[in-house]
């Protein structure tokens, strides 16, 4: 009783944000969100702690026939914690990020922003808690709408508005698939709910319905080829919003996929293979596209697609494990996927926040116009470095742990595997290794070009460190990244527990016990190496203190007038790679060659860009075609009333004819 009333009160209390004086808006929103987080986190802790396997909270009195029941099981509890953390850190970061907009924008804009932010958070919570189909679709829609309002924060910029609209449309395409899927379920079982899926799957083919749900949820999650909204929407949104969207909102798609997977009973092998292949494509293509981006936030957006791919690889392996009755593969696959989801929500929001700090300080997101920022904003640089190392899956950070678990799932399943299975797994191993290598390429480039060397432009040279209110929340994220990386059993054990209870995997203690020992070894290695490094650096300091240390210019190969413009740029760093990836990325150059007779070449421009193949084929081409077709039909729209009367007459004639011929 208390729970439901408290939750309803929080929902209602979001409204007064419009009426509250401007100076208090932020504090009010923060207070309300913290209250809500304490409440919902307490629910999920109760479930994870094992007080009750499932907690149900009826929002309205059941007597009124209400179906709005919040159901919290293990999976939901996990997602609630992830959502709450990312949203809270994002909002703490928002204070500093939004400060420069205080003068420019009126109070209403801020109210709308905060209101949408709160509702994005609440709708995500409800998405993971609600099982009833109709209510689910409603909160799913609220999630799309509120994030739309968040994306168009700077709506006066034309490109932002355009991106927002395109985002909204694509979200509704996704919703259409989910709606149809639910209708199919209702048609068979008479109930429109996730709970009815088990009944449906028991008596019907599983794959078609799964594919419907998958299409809908994959658009949200950003799986290639359904990712096209993602690289546009993330850069357009303010950084704290991109952080939350990339960190948790796209994970709602993953949640949906998992929710549908749990009750599935047949077709598991083919489902797993489909998920695995789509994820491999997303992983490889995502990071390949990320490397060629010059916009820092767009690069991060593509890298989000890559990481969704890695999460998907884990889930796909898990499903294959279930299908082949390989406990270890199922457990490690799902656990690796879920852990990577958690990890990604940490380091990706960290990276987006830092990209926001860079934007604030250097007033650009274009990597080519930055450089040397580490000297100017050292704290942001260190945070970005930690995020980069973590996202590249390097030890001793958290990304390594989740990739390690996924690798282990693959390697463990290899002994005694069939031909088909071993080819599939070895292919995945190679792809995951390639993704890892490409991620290192991508993030050495991003970090090196943005933060190291000399500033390439004046505005980068004038950059100053952002204030502490933007740094401090990120330290909490870094702490969690390090805990997951260095003390992995602490985090991995609960994740294993969640997976085992959601899928009823037997033989769990056997696997987890041995596996935690491996993780303990990794922690030990991490500890030893950290100590070794510290010792070596201390000795280095002692060593250098007793010798002459002088400063000089960078070696210019004998050339003494080097300028910052001569540094390697983001484009030149990726040049060799670009050359290699040309057949896949179809990068194009636009320039006019210098003619033979042109003795004094005039000023000309050069542009190179990499198009997204899938966007061109799946979005641009059909919309161009439709627009062309509609333009042709628009000939009918003459604006002369007699023509319209003629159309009406023709239509009636047609109806008459059809009636006479008994066609209708």
């Amino acid at each position: 009783m208390f729970s439901s009333v408290a939750f309803l009160v929080i929902l209602l209390l979001t409204l007064p944000v419009f009426a509250i004086p401007r100076t208090l808006k932020y504090t009010y929103t923060l207070g309300l969100m913290v209250a809500g987080m304490v409440l919902t986190s307490a629910w999920s802790m109760a479930v994870l702690g094992g007080e009750a396997p499932v907690k149900e909270i009826a929002l309205f009195a059941p007597a009124a026939g209400s179906r709005v029941v919040l159901v919290i099981d293990q999976l939901t509890a996990f997602f609630i914690l992830v959502i709450n953390f990312a949203v809270l850190i994002g909002f703490l970061h928002a204070r500093g990020y939004l400060a420069p907009y205080e003068q420019r924008m009126n109070s209403l804009r801020f109210s709308i922003h905060y209101f949408s932010y709160m509702w994005l958070w609440l709708s995500m919570l409800m998405v993971v808690m609600i099982r009833d189909g109709l209510s689910f679709l409603i909160v799913w829609e609220i999630m799309a709408l509120s994030s739309f309002f968040l994306v168009i924060f700077e709506a006066e910029e034309r490109s932002v508005m355009k991106t927002g609209i395109s985002y909204l449309i694509q979200m509704h395409v996704g919703m259409f698939f989910i709606l149809v899927a639910f209708l199919v379920v209702q048609d068979t079982t008479g109930e429109m709910s996730f709970d009815a899926l088990g009944e449906y799957f028991a008596s019907n083919r599983n794959l078609p319905l799964f594919m419907l749900f998958f299409a809908g949820f994959a658009i949200k999650a950003g799986f290639i080829p359904l990712h096209t909204w993602l690289p546009e929407a993330h850069p357009a949104a303010p950084s704290h919003v991109s952080g939350v969207m990339s960190g948790v909102m796209i994970k709602m798609g993953i949640y949906g996929i998992l929710r549908v997977l749990i009750p599935m009973q047949s077709d598991l092998l083919v489902t797993g293979v489909i998920i695995l292949l789509v994820s491999l494509l997303s992983g490889v293509m995502g990071v390949m596209m990320a490397i060629v981006q010059n916009d820092l936030k767009r690069m991060l957006a593509w890298s989000t697609i890559e990481n969704v791919g890695i999460i998907g690889i884990g889930i796909g392996l898990g499903v294959i494990g279930l299908a082949l009755d390989k406990t270890a593969l199922a457990l490690l696959g799902f656990a690796g996927g879920l852990l990577h989801l958690l990890n990604h929500s940490l380091f990706k929001s960290l990276l987006f926040f830092n990209a926001g700090s860079v934007y604030h300080a250097a007033h650009t997101r274009n990597m080519e116009q930055t450089g040397g920022l580490m000297k100017r904003m050292p704290r942001t640089a260190i945070l970005f470095l930690i995020g980069s190392l973590a996202i590249s899956g390097l030890p001793p950070f958290n990304g390594f742990i989740s990739e390690y678990i996924i690798y282990m799932g693959m390697f463990n399943s290899l002994s005694g595997a069939t031909l088909y299975h071993s080819i599939l797994i070895v292919g995945s191993v190679a792809a995951l290794a390639l993704i890892g290598g490409l991620a290192i390429f991508c993030f050495t480039r991003a970090f090196g070009i943005v933060f190291l060397g000399e500033p390439r432009t004046e505005k980068a040279g004038n950059a100053r460190e952002v204030n502490s209110s933007m740094i401090i929340p990120q330290l909490v994220t870094v702490a969690l990244i390090l805990i997951t990386g260095l003390a992995s059993p602490l985090v991995v054990k609960p994740v294993f527990g969640i997976v085992a209870r959601m899928w009823d995997i037997a033989g769990l203690p056997l696997v987890t016990g041995a596996f935690t020992a491996n993780l303990a070894h990794i922690s030990l290695a991490g500890g030893i190496l950290t100590v070794l490094l510290a010792a070596l650096l201390l000795y280095r300091r002692y060593h250098l203190a007793r010798r002459s240390v002088t400063a000089g210019p960078t070696w210019g190969c004998g050339y003494t007038a080097a300028t910052p413009r001569m540094q390697y740029t983001a484009t030149s760093f990726a040049y060799n790679y670009n050359h290699l990836a040309k057949p896949l990325l179809q990068n194009r150059k636009e320039m006019d060659e210098i003619g033979e007779g042109e003795i004094f070449p005039r000023k000309r421009s050069f542009m190179s860009r990499s198009d997204d193949f899938f966007k061109r084929v799946l979005i641009d081409r059909p919309t161009d075609l439709t627009a062309g077709l509609l333009k042709k039909i628009a000939v009918m729209q003459t604006g002369q009333i007699r023509h319209y009367i003629l159309y009406a007459f023709l239509f009636m004639l047609l109806v008459l004819l059809l009636a006479m011929l008994k066609i209708m």
């Binding site: 450089g371 040397g372 580490m374 000297k375 050292p378 470095l385 590249s392 899956g393 390097l394 390594f400 990739e403 390690y404 690798y407 282990m408 390697f411 463990n412 290899l414 002994s415 031909l419 071993s422 070895v426 191993v429 792809a431 995951l432 390639l434 890892g436 290598g437 290192i440 390429f441 993030f443 970090f447 090196g448 190291l452 060397g453 596996f515 020992a517 070894h521 990794i522 290695a525 030893i528 190496l529 070794l532 070596l536 280095r540 250098l544 010798r547 240390v549 400063a551 000089g552 210019p553 960078t554 070696w555 190969c557 540094q567 390697y568 030149s572 760093f573 040049y575 060799n576 790679y577």
Partner: protein
């Protein structure tokens, strides 16, 4: 523990043997086998010059790289002697630790703001990214063949699976590891450490600005990486269960042979054209897949 110490000891001789081989092959009198050690001891006594552009990353990178190599050494077994740290999937940590070192080498090069070092960084990042799948496919094949996922256990079970043709895979694996070592250490045919022009360098150009202590660390790190791969090769070709002293002897023999092979390769072979390198490196992944097919046949999955 034995593995750790042996690798470290072998590392002292390794570069000298390469150097000796090269001087003999080219008919020069050449320096002694301990010349590289002497060079490093000189570096250790010298002071340092740092570029004004560089910052923290440039200063910590050599230490991180060396420690990550030491971490990789901890995971390597020697014959039946278990590694310092041995657990399921240790080779994943092994590969990613080496990648961590590489990450820092690359960003340290970018820290100097030099166009030459940026160029080297870009090349190194590209090449080491391409070589990653080869190693993982190789290890996946081992895991599939032996049913284990730890260096120590894999190597101990490799020869006692009772399959007489396993030597085929041994040879493929040894060849592959030797080639991966060449790419990872930026030697011929991917990169020529003795090239005189910055524009044609990969690894050497990345460390142009280092001096003194840090440069010594980089050299030691490179030696260790050679013997790390050398010890992997040793474990792959020498069966377990022989006399310990014989095995220690064989260990050094394999390392020395590896160094001699590198020396001869570098004496008689020219460096690849830069844009041929990706193809060369991708070929390694293809060879790894051939090895995978060999194992499929050996285990009667593909008949």
């Amino acid at each position: 523990m034995a593995g750790f110490i042996l690798i470290a000891v072998a590392a002292f001789f390794f570069p000298g043997i390469i150097l000796r081989t090269k001087s003999i092959a080219s008919g020069r009198k050449g320096p002694g086998i301990f010349q590289p050690l002497k060079d490093v001891s000189v570096l250790l006594r010298k002071g340092s010059v740092f570029s004004d552009t560089t910052g923290l990353i440039f200063r910590i990178a050599p230490s991180v790289t060396l420690v990550s190599a030491a971490g990789a050494m901890m995971l390597l077994p020697f014959a039946e002697q278990k590694a310092l740290l041995s657990f399921e999937g240790d080779f994943i940590l092994f590969a990613y630790l080496l990648a961590l070192g590489k990450f820092f080498t690359i960003i340290a090069a970018l820290d100097t703001g030099s166009s030459f070092e940026g160029m080297g960084a870009s090349r190194e990042a590209l090449f080491s990214m391409l070589v990653e799948p080869a190693f993982f496919v190789l290890m996946a094949t081992f895991a599939m063949f032996t049913g284990y996922t730890s260096f120590s256990v894999i190597f101990n079970h490799f020869f006692i699976t009772g399959n007489d043709y396993v030597l085929i895979y041994s040879i493929i694996g040894a060849y592959l590891l030797a080639q991966i070592a060449m790419v990872e250490n930026s030697r011929l045919p991917v990169d020529d450490p003795k090239t005189h022009l910055e524009l044609t360098m990969i690894h050497e150009v990345m460390i142009l600005d280092y001096s003194g202590f840090d440069k010594a660390l980089i050299h030691i790190g490179t030696w260790l990486k050679f013997t790390i791969y050398g010890s992997l090769i040793y474990n792959l070709v020498v069966p377990a269960g022989w006399n310990l002293f014989l095995k220690i002897g064989l260990f050094f023999a394999v390392q020395a042979l590896f160094a001699v092979v590198i020396g001869f390769t570098e004496s008689f072979r020219a460096r690849n054209k830069m844009n041929k390198n990706p193809k060369f490196i991708l070929t390694l992944s293809a060879i790894a897949l051939i090895g995978f097919t060999v194992i499929l046949i050996l285990t009667d999955k593909l008949a």
